[in-house]
């Protein structure tokens, strides 16, 4: 989600599932929606059956998605920057970009400072000592008022730097890096190029196949840049559509599951910020054009103060900076891998796991098992036994050696509670409790509330070094030990503290302490008239419920922000307010009523088109989508870098093969190296889900265990012939970190690739099995193989590209 926020201003799927049926071309990269999102995949098939859309699936494997795609491109895992970069080069080289859109809605015309450089794989601003870039080194030329200089013909305009950057990504280079034959690449490039026309639109659908790399953020950004060039952002049938892997991952992200954000994508305060002025100055985007709305940046303080009022109530006053001091200001990265790194260093006492099993998730499950062994205590809240609650008894572990005290707290399953799910398309949909909780199980939020109140009682009784963050927190629920999700939803929505009424929009949030909002992007989902996520005016009456006929269904549930269905939809219309494609309008300027009609406008609702009109992307300081962005840690333009474990040197710059900004945990901590080389581990491997299971929890579902009963790996037919392996045989797949001994499935669906003149094979590793579940004997953990390293910006693990060896047993 880092990459979308860095490019457009918000970290979420830009369109929504139903909208995909409006596309003419669908690029699917790093995703297998037919298997991982079979229900949403319906809309890709509708695009195909209803309007003859072309689906291009670029994937290391020929999957169930490829089976119904028009073209499958066998691409080496993790090389999508080269593919998208090649498409960017093709589009610019053949003048196929949507010129008017690019000038209107992107930062292509802004002039970059002359300190910008890119040489042999390294951008300016790199500090060898820290191994990190200073992203503020990637900036525009500005005038005395801080406004960026605009001159699209300037040699250092974003557009011209972009041209220069991707001129190296020729079809020949694309073939060398990705393995896609150039003729096939060019065939796809010609098709993609047609969508630069106003009457054509393309969507890019992706998932964690792009995210799970050391270059994950840039893989996604390269697709986003292509979409900006072709004028496909903000339009029905277009967009960058991130498919989330669980029913409520988007909701988790919105409510700050990542360590570095607070609810609503407000940044976590940093050390040295002593007051709200410091915080806002360092966190909010700066206005860079006179007509930029810069909505997020301009309102940052209002959202933060309303959050602090929610959390700290009467304690938060103007005199004490609304209790800003009570928020933690973490000095070190606290992302997923970092947690286990800290445990391995012996710096963690305990860990609470809720809704996840660290052992199975990995990466490098064997190292995670060691990390868990170094804890004093581990608490697992889950409806089922997990590979984490049973980690001390994992194959290869000696329970007598594990000192960690493990608490298993039975939690309710989502089917045993109400509450909302927020889907990939940002629709928050309320659900009812289906079954009563079993036995003594409790809701996760009840367990945490009870725990919190007990900790608070200890602080009250015994004092402590800094008790106020805990003592002063509001628990304004009917029964603080058992908050209802309905109460929490109302708290998230926020209210006017003067009238006591719940608010209908975040536009009414104030920075003077008179309003609350637990997550400003959800303000308006629960107005005084009721919980809008319960609305169900859907296909039972399309004429009434979908007045535009575009599938927005505004009275079905509620989507953030303010029930808008397609983000950045001002860009669906030309500068004069007419839709680029009248058959697929997003919003339209109505001169008679002087308002924007259609979807909820992502724009001031009565701002008339014209030369002085506000710029179209309201969430960025530039007022446009960002082709050039300093919102990422590893470069303002995406560049192809090799995975940390790769069989080849980077053909673009062998001297800088991997991204320079990658954080190597083991090396930094002085632990032995756990990365393998091609000499010992000659095959590329990638891990993934199958449609029959959801991660690990469905090992408890009989019907699904029947459909996929046993761990296996997929082996290319040619390699299998070489090694005498047949489907059903047992094979050993090993990386520098661990091994699996499972069955082989031999198939042509994974073929050989020619990478930079060298033949490489890719092995497929489904992830679903472990040493708990109803089908015993399935004890191999796929993530025993994966590397303990993550993306340069987000630190998301590189689950999708690593090296292994393969032996017949």
């Amino acid at each position: 989600m880092v990459s979308l926020a860095a490019t457009f201003g918000r970290g979420a799927m830009t369109n929504h599932w139903r909208d995909i049926r409006h596309a003419d071309v669908i690029l699917v990269n790093g995703a297998n929606p037919a298997e991982a999102h079979p229900v949403g995949f319906r809309w890709l098939m509708r695009a195909k059956t209803d309007r003859g859309a072309k689906i291009i699936h670029a994937d290391p494997r020929f999957t169930r998605t490829s089976a119904v795609a028009d073209t499958h491109l066998r691409i080496r895992t993790g090389s999508d920057v080269a593919y998208f970069g090649g498409l960017i080069n093709y589009v610019l080289g053949n003048d196929l970009h949507h010129r008017e859109y690019v000038e209107f809605a992107t930062n292509a015309g802004l002039v970059v400072k002359d300190s910008y450089s890119f040489d042999e794989g390294l951008f300016n601003g790199f500090d060898e000592a820290t191994g990190a870039y200073d992203p503020t080194a990637w900036a525009y030329e500005t005038d005395a008022d801080g406004n960026a200089r605009v001159d699209i013909d300037h040699p250092r305009s974003v557009l011209n730097l972009l041209r220069a950057h991707y001129s190296r990504y020729t079809p020949e280079m694309v073939e060398r890096i990705t393995g896609i034959p150039r003729e096939q690449f060019l065939e796809v490039a010609r098709l993609v190029g047609t969508t630069g026309r106003p009457d054509k639109v393309m969507t890019i659908v992706y998932a964690v196949g792009l995210t799970h790399h050391t270059t994950g953020v840039q893989l996604i950004r390269s697709g986003a840049i292509l979409q900006l060039l072709l004028g496909n952002m903000g339009r029905p049938g277009g967009g960058m559509n991130a498919e989330r892997g669980h029913a409520n991952i988007q909701g988790n992200t919105d409510h700050a599951i990542s360590w570095d954000i607070l609810p609503g994508y407000l940044k976590v305060p940093a050390p040295g910020q002593r007051n709200l002025d410091d915080y806002v100055a360092q966190s909010a985007s700066k206005k860079l054009r006179p007509n930029a709305v810069n909505f997020f940046g301009e309102n940052y303080r209002r959202f933060m103060v309303s959050l602090l009022k929610t959390w700290y109530g009467d304690t938060a006053t103007a005199d004490n900076e609304f209790a800003f001091d009570l928020l933690p200001k973490p000095a070190a990265n606290s992302s997923w891998i970092s947690i286990f790194d800290q445990a391995l260093r012996g710096r963690m006492e305990g860990l609470i796991l809720s809704g996840m099993t660290a052992t199975s998730i990995g990466p490098d499950s064997n190292q995670v098992l060691q990390a868990l062994s170094k804890l004093k205590w581990l608490c697992v809240m889950d409806p089922f036994r997990t590979t984490s609650s049973e980690f001390w008894n994992a194959p290869g572990m000696n329970p007598a050696d594990v000192r960690t005290e493990v608490f298993m707290l039975p939690a309710t399953h989502w089917i045993e509670k109400d509450g909302s799910f927020t889907n990939s398309g940002r629709w928050a949909q309320w659900k009812e409790q289906v079954l009563p909780p079993e036995g003594e199980s409790r809701h996760d939020h009840w367990i945490l509330a009870d725990l919190f109140l007990r900790v608070r009682a200890l602080y009250e009784a015994q004092g402590g070094r800094f008790p106020d963050p805990v003592r002063r927190l509001t628990m304004d629920y009917r029964d603080p030990r058992r908050p209802e999700l309905d109460e929490i939803a109302r708290e998230i929505n926020g209210r006017d503290l003067g009238t006591g009424e719940r608010l209908t929009t975040f536009a009414d949030l104030a920075d003077d302490g008179t309003t609350t909002a637990g997550d400003w992007i959800y303000t308006g989902h629960y107005p005084p008239e009721g919980n809008l996520t319960k609305r169900r005016d859907g296909v039972q009456d399309p004429e009434k419920n979908d007045p535009t006929g575009m599938g927005f269904y505004p009275n079905w549930a509620w989507s953030w922000p303010v029930n808008r269905r397609v983000l950045y939809n001002r860009a669906s219309a030309d500068p004069s307010g007419r839709p680029w494609d009248p058959d697929r309008p997003g919003i339209v300027w109505d001169p008679a009523t002087r308002t924007w009609t259609g979807d909820v406008p992502d724009y001031p609702p009565t701002a008339a088109p014209g030369p002085d009109a506000p710029l179209p992307f309201i969430m960025t300081g530039e007022g446009t989508g960002r082709i050039f962005s300093n919102g990422v840690a590893d470069g303002p333009f995406p560049e192809h870098y090799e995975p940390v474990e790769s069989p080849v040197d980077n053909p673009l710059h062998p001297g800088q093969s991997t991204t320079p900004a990658v954080y190597r945990y083991d090396e930094r901590a002085g632990r032995p190296n756990r990365f393998g080389t091609v000499a010992d581990y000659p095959y590329i491997a990638t891990s993934y889900r199958l449609t029959e299971h959801e991660h690990y929890v469905t090992q408890n579902v009989e019907q699904l265990v029947r459909l996929q009963p046993e761990a296996f790996v997929e082996v290319p037919a040619e390699l299998a012939r070489e090694k005498g392996i047949e489907t059903g045989d047992r094979v050993r797949v090993s990386s520098k970190r661990g091994k699996l001994e499972v069955r082989a499935v031999v198939t042509g669906r994974l073929g050989p690739l020619m990478i930079d003149g060298r033949k490489v094979y890719q092995i497929g590793i489904p992830i679903h099995w472990g040493f708990v579940g109803i089908n015993t004997g399935q004890h191999w953990l796929a993530n025993a193989l994966t590397p303990f390293v993550g993306d340069a910006s987000s630190r998301t693990p590189e689950f999708k590209a690593f090296l292994v060896n393969l032996e017949k047993m």
């Binding site: 079979p38 119904v68 499958h72």
Partner: protein, 275 residues
């Protein structure tokens, strides 16, 4: 969907060109019909169900024809998936051979085995040209897809069709399904997919199938008899008396096969078309 009316002919149109092999149909069928399923067993990685049998009334076939090299392989040609099911034949040999009239044609024009009338003779198992029917080891009666007879009586579409996310399985009145299928195959031909063809939509196979298919390859690729083979013996000659004779032959043969099967420790039920 529209009301389900007794007296009208209903069926399935299974469009394999949009099947994604998710097996939601298999699970929905088992859940609704309370089929406990067979013991988990590794098949070939994707198809671990194996075949239509007493426990599996929907079965997704996977036909992997993907070549080693990268190719422009889409449009469902290289990895074919097809949710197989009882065809609810117009000329239903199972119904014709059933000695106890346990197998009936319902008011929805579907073929249904009444479990309380079935005496477990296995004639239908041998007679079915599609290997759809199997004896249930617990109940001792023959079982197959009921086209969710109970759901239809309650005005609900079959569980598999309701669960199918891509509308690969469509349920409806037969005449409407046939019209939709002809439109769909026409669209595919227009889009440059000449492989697409309908199977069982007209009377060429077993007098017409209430559960018919859009296929992306020859029927034989899906282990389905082609038009030449998919006829009851009687239908090779036009005369009505021969039809009766053929049915009788088939019944006798089916009985013999079933009898042999009872003696045979490892029964190999054979298709009725050989009669």
């Amino acid at each position: 969907m529209a009301e389900i009316t007794p007296g009208r002919a209903y069926g399935f149109f299974t469009d394999t060109s949009v099947c994604i092999g998710c097996k939601a149909c298999e699970v929905a069928c088992k859940e609704w019909n309370q089929l406990p399923g067979n013991a988990p067993a590794f098949g070939d990685g994707y198809d671990n169900t194996g075949a239509l049998d007493a426990q599996n009334w929907r079965h997704v076939q996977f036909l992997d024809q993907v070549p080693d090299r990268t190719e422009n392989s889409g449009r469902g040609k290289a990895w074919l998936m097809m949710s197989d099911v009882c065809k609810h034949c117009k000329d239903a040999s199972c119904l014709e051979v059933c000695p106890t009239d346990a197998i009936i044609r319902t008011e929805f024009d579907t073929v249904y085995i009444q479990p309380d009338v079935c005496n477990g003779c296995r004639d239908c198992v041998a007679a079915c040209p599609y290997d759809v029917i199997e004896m249930d080891e617990h109940t001792g009666v023959a079982q197959k897809c009921t086209l969710c007879y109970d759901r239809l009586q309650g005005g609900m579409q079959p569980a598999c069709a309701q669960a199918c996310p891509t509308d690969s399985i469509q349920f409806g009145p037969l005449d409407e399904l046939r019209a939709a299928a002809r439109r769909r195959v026409g669209d595919l031909h227009d889009q440059g997919v000449p492989e697409a063809r309908l199977y069982g939509e007209d009377d060429a196979v077993y007098g017409g199938l209430n559960a018919f298919f859009l296929l992306m390859a020859e029927p034989e690729a899906y282990k389905l008899p082609n038009e030449k083979n998919a006829v009851l013996p009687s239908r090779n000659n036009a005369g009505g008396y021969l039809a009766a004779f053929g049915t009788a032959v088939l019944a006798v043969l089916g009985g013999l096969l079933a009898f042999r099967k009872r003696r045979d420790p490892e029964p190999e039920p054979e298709g009725g078309e050989e009669g």
